[in-house]
Structure formats: C-alpha cells, structure tokens
Symmetry: C2
Subunit: 431 residues, 2 copies
C-alpha cells in the first residue's frame, strides 16, 4: 500500500507534520535518545503520572491516611477505572473492573465460564486454546483443568474451527498474538464457537489501547487484559476483567474475597457476591499502582476528541505498513522474514521479524543504539517458529520519522554485521 515516494526520511517528516495525533506524544515523558518500540511489553510514562503519584503518596496516604478510602475515592477506584477503560474495548460502564493481574483475572473468568458452560452440558470437558497463546494463559488453564479433572487441548490457529466439538466447554484465545502480532477476527470466531455451544474467553493484553475492540459487537462472553502495555499504566499495573451482563450474576468466581462481597463492611461471616462485575474483585488493591494506571487511561480520554481508537488504529496501520515496506526495501538480503500478517484485518499494532540466526544479538545491538524492541525465542520443541525480533508501534507516541530511523539503525546493524560482536551475544533474562 506504500509507494516509493513515501520511503524517504523527508516524506516521513512530512507525514509527522501532517499527523493530527502528533500532539498526543506530549502527554508522555519519553526517554531521551530512544526510539521505543517496546510499548507492547511496558508502556511509557504518562507526563501526569509523577505528579499524580506524588500526590497519592504524600497527601492521600501521608496526610489523609485512612480517610482517603472515602475522601480520595480509593474504594471505587477499581470500578471508576473500569468505566474509563470500557469504551476502548466496546464495553459499557459498570461492566469492567481494573484489579489484580491478568493471570488471576483469567483464573476467575475461566472458572466462571466453565461453571456456566458445564451447568447445561456437563459432558463438555475441554478447554481449547492456541499452542502459541501467551504461556501464562495456558498455565492457568492447565492448573484449572488439573484441579477439576478437565482437559486442555492446544491447537494451531488454522485448527481452531475443527477443534470446536461438542466436548468443548470454553474457547480461550488471545486476540492479538504476543509473538507474531497476528489478530483473530473476534466476531467471526465467537460466532463459530457459540454456534457449537461453546463460550469464549478473550485475552486483550495486546489489544486494549492498541486496536479497536468491540466486545458487545462480537457477542463475547468474558475478557481480561493487561494494564501495563498499550494502556501505559506502569510496571506491573493492575489488569482488567470484563464479563458480559448475561453472565455476570451467574455463579461465584472462586476468588471470593471481601471486595467482591455485596456489603463488604457489614463484616458478615458468609459470602454474598455483589451484583455484576464487582463480584470479580477479591482483595484490597495496590492504590499507588492503580493511580498510575489512571494516568495512562487519562491519555485515551484526552484523545477521544481526535477520533479515539479509530484514528489511533489508522495511524498504527500506517506505521506498521511503513516499517514493513522500509525493512523489505532497505534491509533485503539479510535473511529477515515477516512473521506478522500483511492483511490489515489480521494485524495488531506490532511487527515481528523472523531470523534463523542472530535475532537476539540484533535486538541487543539495536538497543545499544537506542532502538528498543525485544526478542522472543522460537519454540524449538516443534520447530514451527523461528526466533523473533519484535517491534511494537504505539501511535500515541511513535511517529513516522521514528520508523525511518529505526529501520536505518537496523540496516546499519545488519550491513556492518555489528550484531556479531561478543557483547551482543550474552543471553540474560528478557521480558
């Protein structure tokens, strides 16, 4: 979709100058000298966060102390943030809470989904998911299956349809794949599952704030997602959980703590779940980290006048199109393959490049030059996937010239075989 005329630095500068979303980057404090293409792992710092958090710490905690549960609105922060997030994922006010971690929220909704699906059809004993789903999702499902004597069936993306048999209770998918950036058609897959009597749980970790999501439009059943990636909520920010109103009041979720009680401050010895999604709360939440998440969500609220997710999506696709085109033109002949779908309808907000050898070292060499992406291992077990260089493009703060510069660094790293230096070939933990 790109033409030669766009593939110059000057053309990229012109696109930045004409970009109506360009001003949004002023909402963030970007690290100096860095092109940050890792917002899909940890989003950047909203400019308002330092001041907001200082106020939470020194005034709300330090001075007002316990009364801040009321006066500073700590009590309903999980629900207020949920309401603020809801429009980004096609949910309505009162249907979302920001709380706990993605893994824990998945445990809650997967438990509830199994209870609902199996109440009507106890013979349905399977959860189906993708083998390349983010591992913690698979671990949580594996744990639940082990505990309840059920079966987790893992398939490749193209095998999902055939796996939706009458043995299946729940289909659990991540909307945008963390490794490849490939995106499912949520409405089509959900309809296919529902036609087979199967409930759908969607993980929106790489979707919320990155691509338009319409949970109601898709008829989805349950969704969970992450606060610290595209929502820019800070390291380990609390996650979120959405439950369709048709399911919200059915069954307890098993983590039945006092914050999910209908009247937590009555201190009754027996549990009565709150109506709606509030029963998906459990214990007291980390207020300082929740307050940082609010600063991330505030940027999306501020962006609403600019067209919000539709405008962000258009820019995201323009950025990823540009990156693909530039890599293919300027980095040809170095064995890079494209792991991310070219089809817009199947692409999230990241581009992943495959390479047989040196992917880790190339990422390290780029980081040394201030271009921050990340590395994901191929799954050696099946040999199905090569090692991956992963680049996230967050339209809130990444511009077209950033893309040009990133590819130019990649070109130089490859041309000069810079990545073969020993210092770029020492492995350590990565996220």
């Amino acid at each position: 979709m790109t033409t030669t005329s766009t593939l110059t630095r000057q053309a990229c500068q012109a696109r930045d100058a004409a970009d109506p979303l360009r001003g949004l980057r002023e909402h963030f404090t970007l690290p100096p000298g860095v092109i940050y293409l890792d917002g899909n792992s940890l989003g950047v710092l909203p400019r308002a966060a330092a001041g907001r958090i200082a106020d939470v710490v020194t005034r709300e905690w330090g001075t007002d102390l316990i009364q801040s549960w009321n006066s500073a609105g700590w009590f309903d922060l999980t629900q207020r943030l949920g309401d603020q997030l809801a429009p980004l994922i096609g949910a309505r006010a009162g249907e979302v809470v920001c709380t706990d971690s993605t893994s824990i929220n998945l445990y809650k909704v997967l438990s509830a989904a199994l209870n609902i699906a199996r109440a009507d059809a106890p013979g349905r004993r399977r959860i189906v998911s993708e083998r390349s789903n983010f591992p913690t999702d698979l671990y949580i499902a594996e744990g639940l299956c082990k505990e309840r004597g059920l079966e987790l069936v893992l398939v490749e993306p193209e095998e999902i349809g055939a796996a939706l048999t009458q043995e299946v209770a729940v289909l659990m998918l991540t909307h945008v794949n963390y490794r490849t950036g490939a995106m499912h058609d949520m409405a089509a897959v959900t309809a296919q599952a529902h036609a087979a009597g199967i409930l759908c749980v969607w993980d929106l970790a790489h979707s919320a704030g990155a691509v338009p999501v319409d949970l109601h439009g898709a008829g989805a059943d349950f969704a969970i997602g992450c606060g610290y990636k595209y929502l820019n909520g800070g390291p380990g920010a609390p996650a979120f959980v959405w439950v369709h109103p048709r399911h919200a009041d059915r069954f307890w979720q098993p983590l039945s703590g006092w914050w999910g009680h209908a009247a937590p401050f009555q201190f009754t010895p027996d549990y009565q779940p709150a109506p709606g999604v509030a029963r998906y709360l459990c214990g007291t939440q980390p207020i300082i980290s929740l307050s940082a998440l609010q600063c991330g969500l505030d940027v999306f609220t501020a962006a609403q006048s600019l067209g919000s997710m539709a405008a962000l999506r258009a820019k995201s696709l323009a950025l990823t199109d540009l990156f693909i085109a530039l890599v293919e033109e300027r980095c040809a002949g170095h064995g890079l393959g494209l792991a991310t779908p070219r089809d817009h309808a199947q692409r999230g907000s990241q581009v992943c490049l495959e390479k047989d050898e040196g992917a880790y070292a190339i990422v390290q060499a780029l980081i040394a030059r201030g271009v921050v992406g990340d590395f994901r291992k191929g799954d050696g077990g099946t040999g199905r996937h090569k090692d991956i260089l992963r680049f996230g493009f967050t339209p809130l703060y990444i511009g077209f010239e950033d893309v040009w510069n990133a590819v130019e660094h990649l070109r130089q790293v490859l041309e000069a075989a810079e990545w073969q230096r020993p210092e770029f070939n020492r492995q350590h933990a990565v996220t």
Copy 2:
C-alpha cells in the same frame, strides 16, 4: 502493672524521653496534629517512600523502561522483599514472597493445604475456623469449600479444641483477631492441630510487624499476611505468603501463572512449577506499590540494632497497658468495656473498647479532634459482640504522651457528651 505515679502526662513525657525506640518515629512522615491509632488498618508513610517512589516512577519506569526488569531488580523484588520480611515472622530467607493480596494468597495456601492433608486422608473434608475471623478469610474458605464439595465449620475460640476431629483437614486461624486484638498461642494451637493430623494456616495480618512471630518455632505449615497495616507498605500494598519447606515443593497451588514457573522466560506451553515458595507467585506484580512496601520493611531493618521485634513488643505492651489503665481511671462511668485480653500473652498490639451505644459516634468525635481510631460493628446476628472502638498502637511511631493525650480527648468527648452531636452520627463506609 501500672502504678499511680505513671498516670500523669509528666510521667508519660518522661517515659518518651527514656524510650530507646523513640528515634524510630523519625523514619516516618506523621500527619500534623494527629494522634494516629489506626496503623492496624493503614500504616503511616515512611519518610523515604516519597523519594523512592519518585525514583521508581521517573527513572526506573520513565527513563530505563523495560530494562529495569533487570537493572533495577524488578524481577526478583517479590523474593527480596520476602527475604527482608522473613526475620519478622520467624521464617528463613527463600521461604517468603511478597505478592498479590492477602485473600488471594490465602486461596493459594488453603488450596495447597487441602491437597496435602487430603492426599493422605481423603476422608478429611472440613476446614475449621473462628466465626469472628476476618470475613475475607471466611469467604475465601467458603468459596473453596463450595468449589470442592467440602465443609467450612465455624466455631468460637473456646470451641476450637473440640472441633479438631478426624474429619478436619485444615485449621485456618488469624493469629491476632482484627476485632478484639486477642492473640492465639500459635505454638500450642499448632501442636494441638498436628496431634490430630490437621494442618495449620495462619493469617498474620495483625501480627507481622506488630508482635513477635516464630513460624518455625511453632512448627506452622502455611502463613499469609498483609503489607499495609503494621508493615507500613502503603494503601493496598502487596501481601505475603510463607510455606514451610516441608510443604513447599508438594503440589501446585491453583493460581499457576508464569511468575511461578520454573523458567518463565522459556515460554514453554506447559507449566513446570518453580521449586520452593516461588511457585506461589502468579502474575506480574505492581512494581510501584511493591517499592513502597520496601520502604516500610526498611524501617524494621533499620530497627534491628535496637533489638527489633522483642524491643518493639515490650514497648507495644507498655503502650497498651498504659491506655487500658488510663481509660479505666479517667473514663470510668461511661459504659466502656474492655474487649482486649489483659493477659499479655493473649494480646496483640491494639486495644478495643466495647460500648452498648454510641461507639461509632465517639470514634467520629475523636477523629474530629485528631485522634484516629476506628469503629467495628458488633455482630448483631448472634448478639455475642458489642460495637467496638478500636485503637492500634504501633511502637515504631506512637509514644507514651500520645496515649495520654488520646485518652484525655476520649475523656472530654464522653464528659461533654460531644459524641451525641448529629454530625458524628451519620454512618458512612469505614475500613
């Protein structure tokens, strides 16, 4: 144990002047004009926290971004804080992690305890606890029992011994009762349970940092506790979990997320639990809130040279003895009763006063005067408990003159019937 000569303001001032722990209050930013007797609900702000959190936000997150998982030690923060906390509860390095909420950690250890107890004796189908245990503990146990077809049996404290039958798998108790401040003899109760083939899960929410705890000495099996009360970790601070090494490698806990995996960054599709307590981790943790908890723990580390928990305990008992003596001498004739045991061996670090009428309003009147305690309802259902005025005494930052002043305010509120004013009789949410 107090004599008349100690019951003057001047005597209290003299005790403060002679107190070797007096300097510890300099580690905190205390709210001006306030006597804060609610550290058992939300601890105060450590002086170092504002600077530390600002550094985490602006440098570790804002500038260093994703590399802080390695360079700032975010990855192993849950375990480093666990090691720092361990000496306060009689645990060893490598046995504790700081993570998630108290409720969620209870779900993990209660699940594991049930699995272990019932592996050898599947006929044991009961969890025993106290009816006046903190409600979220009961809710979590109720949820687990419902899910697994087990039975939760609630008894009064004096009935625990008789309830420890061969039908019981797990005894789940809170060490110091949140309502009354009554403390169990952990070693004796654990021994009694073990003699009956029953495992013990201890909630240390009102113990850690408040009273000496010796989990190994007591032979306890599992423990969990709270970061935001006596540990001064900030609002909703992550909680902690301890597992005795004899149990740690047996069974998965059901929240089998990637942070509890033996090799989380191998991204394998199947779950392999980490050895030891690390398998009690689940998802990514809120780093900013965890960093605040570290500031709270740092004060205990700094206090170690002063004798640590034994010295803090001696001062705590002196403070609560003084409060009881002053209330009984100076507030007599107003219908206040003592809900907290006089016996030191049975008392936590709080004093609770019972009253037939007006407890809520008296607490409100005291708060208006800058004396912050809190109110807990009696359980009207059984008629067993009256409404309670609850006062926590944190020896890290409360002094003897503070106690004198607090009781003097209470005396004035009662003498002038100040609490009967309408503005102190409007009910709202309390924590």
